[in-house]
């Protein structure tokens, strides 16, 4: 049982929950990168193209703001979900839907 991997999924799952509860606010950093601050560190999530498999993968990195030292989280599907949640928040999908559905024709 890959418990070590599960620990990272738990961590990213927590970030997804915080994002969806609007407790973690993301900002756009280019079109394929988003950033947020948490516990004195910067979290950088970028959608990078892998030429070997010809697919995009979301990579989550923890950045030390003063030194700029970067550490990358192990990849899992949870990263893609976090990227979706961050984009949902940044684009304002919820608000858009509310406005669209409440507005009379």
């Amino acid at each position: 049982m890959p418990t070590e991997k599960n620990k990272w999924i738990d961590a990213v799952g927590k970030l997804i929950a915080l994002t969806q509860e609007r407790k973690l606010v993301w900002r756009a950093f280019g079109t394929n990168t988003v950033e947020t601050d948490y516990a004195g560190k910067t979290l950088r999530l970028s959608s990078d193209y892998d030429e070997n498999v010809e697919m995009r993968f979301s990579n989550l990195k923890l950045v030390e703001p003063d030194s700029g030292v970067v550490w990358e989280f192990p990849y899992s599907e949870a990263n893609e979900h976090l990227m979706q949640a961050a984009r949902y928040q940044l684009v304002g999908v919820g608000e858009f839907l509310d406005e669209l559905l409440t507005k009379s024709a």
Binding site: N6, D10, I16, A17, S76, Q84
Partner: protein
């Protein structure tokens, strides 16, 4: 020469032969069980190889949909219920083709899905179940990758 022939004679007497036959039957039974166990294991490996990728992909899709619906749980309660049910169906199908370790984990996740009350008040529990589905999906993906190295 006389001693040797008496030894052979004693080996060939009825009682010894019966004992040898008993031993061989037992060895044959154990061997049959071993072969049967291996055939069962191989069958499961090939079933997971054949059906696994599609089922794991569908499970992944259910968890992706769940994560999207969790953006606004209050608005998407029926959809969350539907995706949880879909994930449970895929997990039940996968349980039949996996090893004992994964079977145990799948059983635990299925119990969590069955016991989870999908309401806005119970959002934390719903999120925990969603993370469990994410974890088992990753575990099954790893298991699938390991199969490429087997047999």
């Amino acid at each position: 020469m006389i001693r040797l022939s008496s030894v052979i004679q004693s080996l060939l007497d009825r009682e010894t032969l019966s004992l040898v036959a008993d031993f061989l039957s037992l060895a044959g039974f154990i061997l049959s069980m071993f072969v049967l166990w291996n055939v069962r294991k191989l069958r499961n490996v090939y079933r997971l190889r054949a059906r696994g990728p599609a089922l794991i992909k569908e499970l992944g899709k259910a968890s992706t949909n769940l994560s999207k619906f969790l953006n606004e749980l209050a608005d998407f309660l029926p959809q969350v219920k539907e995706e949880m049910a879909r994930a449970a169906v895929k997990l039940r199908a996968l349980r039949r083709h996996t090893g004992s370790d994964q079977k145990r984990t799948i059983k635990r996740v299925l119990r969590a899905i069955d016991q989870c009350e999908i309401t806005v008040e119970n959002e934390e529990q719903v999120r925990l179940v969603y993370i469990e589905i994410l974890k088992i999906t990753e575990e099954l993906k790893d298991c699938q990758k390991d199969l490429n190295w087997e047999v």
